[in-house]
């Protein structure tokens, strides 16, 4: 019965994806159109040499850029509904192929960043909670505050300066998707995320530690580590998992600035380049991908939440 309910729920959520995709692709198309310029104009503008209008017009006509906004969007939508996402206005490459080619790099960066984030934020958050209001807690909270306050690009510049230029430990530009090249972008992303999660983990663990069942367990002589890992962490994981799901969603969309700074050839960098060049088909593919992963990741999180928390599954508030 529970499985059927979950499937119904998932099916409804997937159906909701259809209007979302229509709406979001229309809006992004409209925004790009209103921003002015187009791929052909941008390319010739980048060169800084004027060419005959006839050449420009011919190129625009070949890409359909001479058509009205409505015609361009309908043409794109019609092709997309037939499984054709078009070709890049800039490179001429098939959009889907280009996107899929760059996706593994983003997946790798996402995986490494999440892993490193957990590696830093879980122990630090738990430590801060256990030793709350003591020296180590204050230091970790200060670190977390600093990490939250610094934007990604600033952290990237600092890491480049110290680990790349001063110490020469890590490369500042990536050479493909090898582990070494991934370290600086991973660290950059993990620092910001760890700062956020450390506080969340600390709060969640602290909240659980203050509950009666912990006191009861202690009174029964159960060891601290058993209470922490078997009871407290299990309860705290629900909060952490929700946050992680949201982060995975945004990371899978590529972290545009970090990927661009480190020349990491993922979908985030692809999106930035496409926006700069008004490469509509590529932008649309990216927007669709973002919509799909957000809906799917949240759906998976909801389903897991449903499974992990008996209070939700049984429809009671737990009190």
């Amino acid at each position: 019965m529970g499985a059927i309910t979950s499937m119904n729920y998932a099916f409804k959520r997937l159906i909701q994806l259809i209007p979302i995709l229509f709406g979001i692709t229309f809006l992004s198309f409209l925004l790009m159109y209103m921003a002015g310029s187009d791929a052909v104009t941008e390319m010739y503008s980048n060169r800084g040499v004027e060419v005959a209008q006839e050449i420009i017009d011919e190129r625009k006509a070949a890409l359909g850029l001479n058509l009205s906004f409505g015609e361009q969007y309908i043409n794109w939508l019609w092709a997309m509904l037939h499984g054709d996402m078009g070709v890049s206005f800039v490179t001429g490459e098939n959009v889907l192929k280009a996107f899929l080619r760059k996706l593994p790099a983003t997946l790798m960066l996402t995986g490494l960043s999440i892993a490193l984030t957990l590696l830093i934020s879980l122990p630090c958050g738990i430590l801060a909670a256990i030793r709350h209001d003591r020296g180590i807690d204050l230091i970790l909270r200060f670190g977390s505050f600093m990490g939250n306050a610094m934007p990604n690009f600033f952290v990237a510049m600092l890491l480049m300066e110290f680990l790349g230029i001063q110490l020469g430990l890590l490369p500042v530009i990536s050479s493909g998707t090898d582990f070494e090249s991934a370290l600086l972008p991973t660290l950059t992303l993990a620092i910001a995320m760890s700062a956020k999660y450390m506080r969340q983990v600390r709060s969640a663990v602290l909240e659980e530690l203050g509950k009666d069942y912990v006191l009861g367990a202690k009174a029964r002589g159960i060891s601290d580590s058993v209470i922490l890992w078997k009871n407290v962490m299990k309860a705290a994981m629900l909060t952490i998992m929700t946050l992680l799901a949201l982060s995975i969603g945004s990371l899978l969309g590529g972290t545009a600035i970090v990927e661009s700074i480190f020349m990491w050839d993922g979908v985030g960098k692809l999106a930035v380049d496409a926006i700069n060049m008004r490469d509509y088909p590529m932008i649309q593919a990216y927007v669709m991908w973002m919509a799909i992963i957000y809906v799917l990741v949240n759906l998976v999180a909801d389903l897991l939440y449903h499974e992990l928390d008996p209070r939700i599954r049984l429809g009671v508030n737990g009190k």
Binding site: E50, I130, M263, D265, N276
Partner: protein, 516 residues
Amino acid sequence: MKWKKLLAATLALGISAVVMAGCGSDKAASNGEKALVIGDTTFNSSNEEPDVNPHNAYAGWACIRYGIGETLIKYSDKMELQPWLATKWENVDEFTWKFTLRDDVTFSSGRKMDAAAVKQCLEHLIANNKRAAQDLKIAAIEANGQELIIKTTEPRPALLNYLGDPYGCIIDVDAGFEQGIVAGTGPYIATDIKTDDHLVLKKNEHYWGGTPKLDKITIRTITDGNTLSSALQSGEVQAAYGMAYESYPLFKNDKYNISQISTSRCFFGKMNFDPDSVCADPAVRQAIAMGIDKENFVAKLLDGNGFPANGVFPAGPAFGGDKVKAEKFDLDGAKKVLEAAGWVDTDGDGIREKNGKKLVIKWLTYPSRQELPLLAESAQATLKEIGMQVEINNTADNNQVVKDTKAWDVYAMANVQAPTGDPEYWFTVFATSNATKNQGKYRSARLDALENQLSREFDPAKRAQLALDMQQVVLDDHAFVFCSFLKMSMISKANVKNYTSHACDYYQVTADLDVE
């Protein structure tokens, strides 16, 4: 207290994993070959350089810049024509040119470069590159040994200049275009390419101009200026092209070489001659020309990374520099010009009026060239001192806005004025009555007549004089105000030799490029 140990162990493991992995870094690893890595912000598909095939869009720039291809004729730093793959040429008649080719050149494919190969290459070029076809206007090509005859569809005095354009790189068409890689005659051979990422070159052992000094060159596409700066400092690249101005101070020391040269990329404003525009009044145009402080703009806002402009072209060519007379920065003089024309500040708000109309200048420009918004702000400040109110429209939609002649008075833009060293291009694109980019509808019968002469004049000295006369017409009419030329800089580590900038911006990698 087991959990404490567990926590400490996890934390230590995490941190050491990162540090240990980092310590494994060995960017200096080398197998004894002499290699160089160049970081370049411009080698990418957004610049229409997805590969090194000169017949594809603007990819010829990569072909010639990175020493893969060479043209029949090259440009000196004064943008004068010099022999390269062609040793000499002669203008048989208005429609016919005869070239003698070098006899000691082979393509990297092993094929000898003779007239038949060049004919095949040029025919493939005009069939596949519309811009080249329009520039060259080739009707027929004849090949006989090392002698090449080109017949044009109309008199084409600038044919030689166009043959020096990067699309004119001579390649072996039979060797193919796999992945956009071509077989040229240059000192380096492309072996691997990944668009928007990298290009790998190896030395051409059989190069006709001597053995190249480096075994391997890698061109890394790095679009972010700050990343390029960091990569040069960390040593991941040893030379950089396209560095952002703000990073220059980091490299002005003994550890680096900076090679700078003035290019013909110009920042200028074109006036709107529409009757409803305030610029239809000659006095307003003259006052604008006198009211822009070019020296200060270059020294302060561009931090010295440019040269103040006088006319259409920079100093160097026979038709460039201060051989023409332009208005000097003179605020008092500008005020007198405006007052004499009836532009007076009657209401004391600092802005002049005439017949109830405020002297407001709609200044259109665009953000993709970092210098243009700065120029707009500089003009806004100095023109205010003479009673003009400058309203800046800095938009990426400039190409649409400029079509509406009611929407702007001055359109400030950037352009490479003489990409092939010939002056005619600029006038036919921007200034003559039927020029394609004369959106301000400037009309000068004298300019049109001079252009008619220029289009049929083959003698270089006479062409230069005509170009000077035409510039003077444009300047006397104050139809344009030329503000500054870009100073191009290429930066390399001190041990990199002969990484030198050229006025034409083409010959970046040569056989002499070396690392000591």
